[in-house]
Every structure is written in C-alpha cells, then in structure tokens.
C-alpha cells in the first residue's frame, strides 16, 4: 500500500514534469534556440569587440587615420599612424584581381553550365573548386619560389615596357618590377587564382537556375549559342553575377597569408602596381603580435574593424543580389 502510494506520487510528479516541459520539447527547443542566438550574437560581438578595442585609436587619431593622404606615415616609435597606404594596397590589389578574375570566371562558368559534356562536368567543377581548398600558405610558398620568378616578373616587365610611358597609366605601371617579383602585381595575380573558384561557383549556379524557356526562346529566334548566352542568359542573371563578383572582392580584401608572402611588405611611396606594397591584412599578420604600444595595437584593431565593416557591407549586398535572382526565377518560370 505504502509502496504503491509512493510510486503513484512519483509518477504524478513525473507526469506533471513531462506535461510542463511537453515531454522535454520545451527544453529541447530552448536549447536549440539558445545555440542559434549564440551564433547570431557572435557576429554582433565580433563587431562590438573590435569597435570597443579600437576606441583609443579612434579617439586619438580621428578620421584622418583612414582617409587618403599623399604620403602616409606608419611610425610606431613616434606614435604616428596613418592607414591609407594599407587601404590603398588592399584596394588596388583586390580591384586588379577582380579585373583579371571576372572574365576568366564568367568564361569558365559559361563552359561548365552551358557547353561542357555531361561526363566532364562534375570532375571539372571539382577541380575548379579544389583551387579554393589549397591552403593559402601553400599558395604563398609556391608564389615566392615558382610563380613570381617564372610568371610575374616577365609579365611585370612587359606591362612596365608597354604602359610605363603612357601618360594616364604611368602612375600605375611605373617599373621596373623588383628582381624577386615581390610586388602588388604579384599579390593581385595570386588573388586572381584564389578568387576564381568563388566567382565561378556562384555564377555557374546562377546560370543553371535560369529557366530553359529563356534558352529555347532565344535559340528559336535563330540566335547562335553565343548570342543566346551573351544577350539573354548573362543579362538575365546579371544581378546574381554581380553578387558573385562582390563576394569574390570580399574574399580578395581579406586574404592574408598568400598576399603577405608575395607583396614585399614595404611602405613604398610609389603607388605603382609593379612596386612592393602592403595591405591591411598583411600589416596585421606582420606586426600585430609584436605591437609596440597600446595605441599601436588599437590602431591595428581599427584596421581590422575597417576590414570587418567593408566585408560585412559587401557580403550583405552580394547575398541580397544572389537571393534576388534565386527568388525571381521560379516565379517567372511558372508564368
């Protein structure tokens, strides 16, 4: 009798607990939601932490820190910091990499999505994507010992000879390129190889998402294959392709190791592509662990913050553009 009552009271407790938590489901969904919030909070926390830790630099150095200057100084010993040289280095290498990578990537994705025989498609896709899997230090090592002397130096010499005397371009192409090849051009070319897979993968997906009716209509009108691709498919997927390019740009801006190894890391006053330079990321890689003062650390965290904000904005724009294509396509396919 006693035993029965105990067990029954235990089971009522059990039952009420189960009811209260809907058989544990409330705990489960709570856990899952908390973990999702942790991921979301992490992104906000990264931004906030960088903002807070760069407070000293922002207060002491002001906006002049990130604004263009003629000759920028970076002198930790005397606490004079101007980041323009690094921002310029990052911008010119990334933009040049984009200029090189976009036509190649679009070409590849057209080939993969429209022309490639079925049996070749998967292996080719993978090989292009494996380019993104190679660690960036390996790119750097190969760059220093193989790519720079064999490819970059001849191309740099050629560019210098071609454009060195052209009035408008001579600023960007003043030679000669250093013997070792370490230059902004080298960084841009390594970046080109590294961002091709990013741009290609998204552009290919955008092309594949375009409904077949578009292709059939163009071909039915008597267009050649190229005219169909150039005048119908590319305009149709334009915003998605733009998104892919912006994502590639985001990757190029933040790439650290390979660039640090081939760009030469020097604060040249010349803005030429053929001269060694410095980027925001390579500055962090080289100097951060050995910062001389709190202001020095803080200034570098502000550079990190700048990088974070730029890539954040680029990512938002790019995701929006890609998402727009994805959203529009099925509706129009139905119509």
């Amino acid at each position: 009798m006693k035993i029965a009552s105990i067990s029954s009271s235990r089971s009522t407790l059990d039952v009420s607990l189960k009811r209260a938590t809907r058989h544990g489901d409330i705990l489960w969904s709570g856990l899952v939601i908390v973990m999702s919030l942790v991921v979301v909070a992490l992104v906000l926390y990264i931004g906030w932490m960088l903002w807070q830790q760069s407070a000293e630099a922002r207060a002491k150095l002001g906006w002049a820190f990130v604004l263009p200057t003629g000759e920028s100084t970076w002198d930790p010993a005397n606490s004079v910091f101007q980041a323009w040289a690094f921002i310029y280095g990052t911008l010119i290498t990334s933009v040049f990499a984009i200029i090189l990578a976009v036509p190649i990537s679009i070409g590849i994705s057209i080939f993969l999505a429209e022309l490639c025989p079925e049996q070749l498609r998967l292996p080719l896709n993978w090989m292009i994507e494996l380019l993104a899997a190679i660690p960036s230090v390996v790119y750097g090592l190969w760059g220093i010992f193989v790519f720079l002397p064999k490819v970059v130096v001849p191309i740099g010499d050629g560019l210098g000879a071609l454009f060195g005397d052209v009035p408008a371009l001579s600023q960007v192409f003043t030679g000669p390129i250093p013997q070792s090849g370490a230059s902004r051009l080298a960084a841009a070319m390594i970046l080109t190889i590294m961002i091709i897979p990013t741009i290609t993968a998204i552009t290919r997906d955008v092309l594949l998402a375009i409904p077949n009716t578009q292709r059939e209509a163009a071909m039915g009108m008597g267009a050649t294959r190229w005219e169909m691709i150039w005048q119908v498919l590319l305009p149709y997927g334009l915003s998605g392709i733009l998104g892919a390019v912006i994502l590639g740009l985001g990757r190029a801006l933040g790439e650290t190791m390979a660039v640090t190894m081939v760009i030469g890391n020097s604060l040249e006053s010349s803005g030429s592509l053929l001269k060694p330079g410095y980027t925001m990321a390579s500055l962090l890689a080289n100097e951060f662990a050995e910062a001389a003062s709190t202001l020095h650390t803080s200034a570098m965290i502000e550079i990190g913050l700048t990088l974070f904000v730029i890539t954040l904005i680029l990512n938002i724009i790019a995701r929006f553009l890609v998402w727009q294509v994805a959203r529009r396509t099925p509706q129009e396919a139905r119509a």
């Binding site: 190649i104 190679i134 294959r225 962090l284 951060f288």
Partner: protein
C-alpha cells in the same frame, strides 16, 4: 533578282558567317579559360609533390626541430600542435553548430531562422585574420598570454559556418516520412530529432565536420596572434612531467592547451621566410603534408556527399 536584292543577300551571308565566327571564337575561349584556370592547380600540386617528396622521411614526422644550421629533424611539434588545435576547435564548434543547424533546418522562415542563416553567411565572409583579432581581444588579452586554447576558439569560429550549413543541408535531405512516422508514434520532438533525424543524417553531417576540419587545418592567419607558435611544444614531455609530479588528467590537459602551440601552416610560414635553405626545404615538406591532407579530405567528402544526395533524392 535586282542588283540591290543580290547585295542584301550577299551581305546577309557575310553577316551570318560573321555571327558563326564570333560564336565559335567565344565558345572556344570559354573552354580555354577553363584550361587556363586548371594550370595553376596542377602546377601547384605537382610542384609541391616534387619538392616536398625529397624532404619527407620518418624523422620528419617523429622528431622535433634541430637547432638552426643543423640538417635533419622534423616537425613533430607542429603535427602535435595541429592535432591539439583541431580537437579543441571541434569541441567548441560542433555542439553549437549542430544544434543551431537543427533550428535552421526546422524553422527556415521564422525571423530567427532568417537572421541565423544571414549571420552564418556573414560569418563565412569575415576575413580570417579579423577572427584572430577578435579572439585576441576575447581570450589572449584577459589571459595575458598566447595559448592553444585561443587558437582553438579562433578555428572553431571559422568552422562554425561550414558545420551549420552542411548539417542543415543534410537534415533537410532526410525524408519527411521518417520524421512524421516518429512523431506519429508519439515520440516527442527532441527524441525524433536526436534518435531518428540525427542518425539518418549522421554520415553526411560527419562529412561536413571533415570539410570544416580540412579548411581550418589550412588556416594560418587566425593563429598568428592566438596560438602564436612554439618550437618547443612537446606533448610527450608535458604528459611525462605531469605523471611524475602526480598531477591529475585535467591539470595535464590544462597545461597542454594553456601554452602557445604550433601548427603546420604556422610552421610553413615561419620556415618559408628564413634564409636557411634546410628550413625552406622543410617548408616544402610541410606544404606537401598539409596539401595532401586537405585535398584528400575535400575529395572524399565531396564524393560521399554526392553519392548520398543522389541516393536520398532518388
């Protein structure tokens, strides 16, 4: 046919020829671009195998580095460091990643689901060097020293987006009927998730872990000012010392993760910049080990995911 019409006809033929020519040229250009992009892949892989193959021997994997100028020795310290960092980063990244993926797979269109997916995308786009800065301010500054722990956290943040995305994708591939069957039999949601959905998707999810690990293993930038590097890192010595001093397991583990550690990419970076030829030679060996490890995981994981997708989608 008048002369005028004849001219037009001729012109049309010429025009058509020109269109066909443009077509042929541009289409073959796209094929050429594809070949062009494959050149660096084969060049890098081939050259690294060629150079690295000469360096690698048993000592390379089993010995600590010798003093500068002395040939021989290996990179055992950075292999051990890489393992420590990988284990730590998995511990930190997998539980939250998988649970968040459960939420994302079940509730893709709730406000939190949309924000979560967006945050994952943003996190994937943040430059890895910035992650290093973040973890530096988060862990290294309060602890006042560089450590394997900080390196592990930095890599964990890098792995998180990959883990969430692949897990979510794999959970979504599990047939609805399984889920509905379990719920219909009266199992609560958590039990359905953990003992039906999770096992059904498990192989794919683990493949995703491997992809994330492969990516994290190749990363250097976030480790530069978190794990820093440590030429004298020697797990064997720490464990031996700890056992002799009668310390318990947690103290010993704490000592392992509480000091700076090296990793393969960090070692590669340092060695590649040194003027000593034997160090540069070893950096090619490290590059070979790293590259083969990463590429093998990448290829097998992809093969696996591909076959699974095909099977589940019928």
């Amino acid at each position: 046919m008048t002369k005028f019409q004849e001219l037009i006809a001729k012109n049309q033929v010429a025009h058509l020829r020109q269109r066909k020519l443009v077509n042929a040229v541009m289409l073959s250009l796209t094929g050429l671009m594809t070949l062009l992009a494959l050149v660096p892949l084969f060049w890098i892989v081939g050259y690294v195998i060629y150079r690295g193959g000469h360096t690698i021997n048993l000592a390379f994997f089993t010995q600590l580095p010798r003093p500068l100028g002395v040939t021989g020795g290996g990179v055992l310290h950075s292999i051990e460091g890489t393992i420590v960092l990988t284990v730590l980063s998995c511990l930190f990244a997998i539980p939250p990643g998988v649970l968040a993926a459960f939420y994302a797979a079940r509730n893709p269109n709730t406000p939190l689901g949309i924000v979560l997916r967006f945050s994952t995308d943003v996190l994937a786009g943040v430059p890895s060097v910035v992650m290093g800065l973040f973890v530096y301010t988060l862990i290294v500054v309060p602890m006042k020293h560089f450590s394997g722990l900080a390196g592990g956290v930095a890599l964990a943040i890098l792995m998180l987006p990959t883990i969430i995305r692949t897990t979510e994708e794999m959970l979504k591939l599990v047939p609805h009927t399984l889920r509905e069957g379990s719920l219909g039999l009266g199992a609560p949601e958590w039990k359905t998730s953990l003992s039906v959905m999770f096992p059904a998707a498990l192989n794919g999810i683990i493949t995703g872990f491997f992809l994330a690990i492969a990516r994290a293993t190749g990363e250097t930038a976030p480790l530069l000012f978190t794990a820093l590097g440590n030429d004298n890192f020697n797990v064997g010595l720490i464990v031996k010392g700890g056992v002799q001093a009668h310390q318990d397991v947690f103290t010993i583990l704490g000592r392992i993760i509480n000091q700076p550690v090296d990793s393969l990419p960090l070692t590669l970076w340092k060695y590649a910049q040194q003027p000593y030829p034997e160090r540069v030679e070893q950096s090619w060996g490290v590059a070979l080990v790293l590259m083969i490890f990463v590429l093998l995981i990448e290829i097998f994981a992809r093969l696996w995911i591909e076959s699974r997708k095909r099977r589940l989608q019928g």
